[in-house]
Assembly symmetry: C3
Homo-oligomer: 307 residues x 3
């Protein structure tokens, strides 16, 4: 994918050794999965994946500045074993909340820069596209309309959104049930650090003709530097959806907020136009505000293609 | 490609922690393009490329010395959109002078170690094979025998031949016209740093039976550490060509020099023998001298193959 | 491959910025060879290889600890020319001892953590899977049951098992002869550092029905920090073998030791069960002791698959 992105007040003035950067920059991402698989005589499928990804630079690092190209990199490997409804992942895995249906909902713009989960601060086990990731285990079992999943790793600050060192076991679980055109999912995660952190989250998603929508609501208690953080430990909630205005064009929206004084509020709308052959034009405009901080507007537009 | 290379006085004596290196070393390069593409229903072609490259080490870095192997690396991604005669590149692109017909001419040896452009010091927007490269835009439009191209990026010292920080907008343009067996091209580039830098360059190339030749002449004004550098801001010129002595073997030569007292003069001759199946043996010998400095002889020989 | 590994006393207690690691960790390796080849009209084959590999982290590096995932990396490139019985490798090559038949014998477990060569301390020219490797040359000529090989590089501490700086030319040679179901090989290597280092090694391997076995015996003189090291310069010896208990399952064992007071003794047994389709389950348990030091037990179990 590639395009242009505008972020309010993100530009920096130039210096002798560093270009200034504009609020508006060229963005791009190249992503390729390197996959391998083998199947035993009894039908158990083994597979492995490493991802190669190149992005534009997102921050100023002399002598190159925000918006310059970044060299491609490789991430940590993920290994999977699948047999009928059972799947076990080992290595750089996505955990049970990262894989939970309806958690992310509809994300806006070419870069997915706003989402309904904006006020969720808990650092769950997530897949790392650009780095090594965690070395965890994820197990999922699906039977008809019902699925359960659990994941475990030894949490470290290498993954997730927290910059605090997280020392301890980390468990995520979810259960999902589909009835007709509606899917409901309930997830729970906890990290056994000195001050325990946890999250409980419920999602509800469905589609009715040209419209599909998604609700998220949850409660969490998280740490900042090992101390319980009341400003972000709280209830969070969000809603998102898409509407197909024609066979090729759809409009999406998202809104997320939380009850904590340190929570991030985000909302935005976007458009997606399919050109066929795996190519689409995408763009969006949105707003982000953390607690009582300044509200920042961001917009982007560009092309995305699969190969 | 791989082979051996001799460079006068390039070797270094060994120390307790570092092997000395010989003037003559083993050289090699492994290069693979990782490409992906998609085409819309209306025939617009989107493509992306990341390059994987491994070279021998070119300088002493304890504990390994010049001539040891280097680990392979990935570069920055390039994205292209093509429709009929129009092509737009975004990301780690080659600019309008890097893509100008006849700029490089015939380069000598397995490693292309001498070229007709030796006295050109202007740092234009170039494709980076080993690093992130610039995040620029390149547009080319071709109609019959005529083509025009332009490129833009925010110049930084991450690319090009200058080690000076270059802070400012950088524009390159070229126009090329082919009449019969002759192609003429005119290029202009400028970088809007505090002291403006620019280049104007004309090339003329053609082929007559077994012989093909190329002329380059240009004028430039460049900076060193932000101050106009009179020793390299000047006229530069060069000539190169090849002659096919048989259906499989060709001989090439090149010569480049400039009017500045700090300009680099290079000349050399090389030979290329095709073994079929994409394999060729290549070698060359050449000489390089910067301003009134010492003249250095360099030679190499080896095999090159495409896969 | 992936699985779990136990190593006695390898775990570390956690700190504020680093997770402790358990004695038992999740291990994995993703390895893919990126190969290219071309053949001339006269039948000379040129090829090149770069390896992409991802492992779990093997040591504590804040903020991530031993057992976390590691990002994938690329190694140095190897180039080969083959024509009838002759093969020449250039770049990141395996030398004549690394390629000697019967040197490694049967290695134990998913991770090959014990081997019959445990008391050999000489640092020969080896292929590097994770780094740049040496830039060497390896030549092998095979004629019927007989083969000879030689390799040369300028040794540096970047490769091999020695942490001492090795400054000097390094030569390895071997000759191998197969008579009936038995292969014998003799190898010699030397490194011309200030205090010369060398190794002489003899292997004998054969197979009789369901059983195959391997013997190694050798003598070496090595340096530690440029001074001859009497505790490891000595005789070393080992034995290993496998027995097929059924068409899919085999049991292996290995034992290695040396006469020096600083030599490492290792022994272990392992099992390998083939599931078909390139997938196998592998595990082992073994013991390692350096000189009069503490004996350490290690065990692992997991799945390995080729794609």
């Amino acid at each position: 994918r590639f395009g242009i992105s505008y972020e309010e007040n993100a530009g920096t003035p130039g210096t002798a050794t560093l270009n200034g950067s504009s609020d508006t920059i060229i963005v791009h991402r190249f992503r390729m999965n390197i996959d391998g698989s083998a199947e035993t005589d009894s039908g158990v499928r083994f597979s492995a994946r490493v991802r190669l990804q190149a992005d534009e630079q997102t921050s100023d690092t002399a002598p190159t500045s925000r918006g310059e190209a970044g060299a491609a990199g490789l991430n940590g490997a993920r290994f999977s074993v699948e047999y009928e409804g059972l799947r076990v992942d080992v290595g750089n895995v996505a955990g049970a909340i990262d894989n939970m249906p309806g958690y992310y909902g509809e994300e806006i713009g070419l870069e997915y820069f706003v989402g309904q989960y904006s006020a969720a601060n808990y650092s769950f086990l997530g897949y790392s596209s650009g780095g090594a990731g965690s070395n965890g285990v994820y197990v999922r079992y699906a039977m008809g309309d019902f699925a359960v999943a659990a994941s475990y790793d030894q949490a470290s600050s290498a993954s997730g959104t927290s910059t605090t060192a997280l020392v301890g076991d980390r468990w995520d679980i979810h259960a999902a049930y589909t009835f007709g055109n509606i899917t409901a999912a309930l997830g729970y995660g906890e990290t056994d650090t000195t001050v325990k952190q946890d999250i409980l989250v419920l999602t509800l998603g469905g589609s009715w003709g040209a419209f599909s929508g998604n609700l998220i609501v949850g409660d969490e208690s998280v740490n900042a530097a090992g101390v319980a953080d009341a400003t972000t430990s709280d209830t969070f909630y969000g809603i998102s959806g898409t509407y197909d205005v024609s066979s090729a064009t759809s409009i999406g929206f998202t809104y997320g907020d939380g009850s904590g004084t340190g929570d991030r509020q985000q909302y935005g709308i976007g458009v997606n136009h399919d050109l066929g052959g795996g190519v689409s034009l995408r763009g969006g405009i949105g707003n982000s505000k953390t607690g009582a901080g300044t509200s920042t507007t961001r917009a982007d537009f560009g092309a995305r293609f699969n190969f």
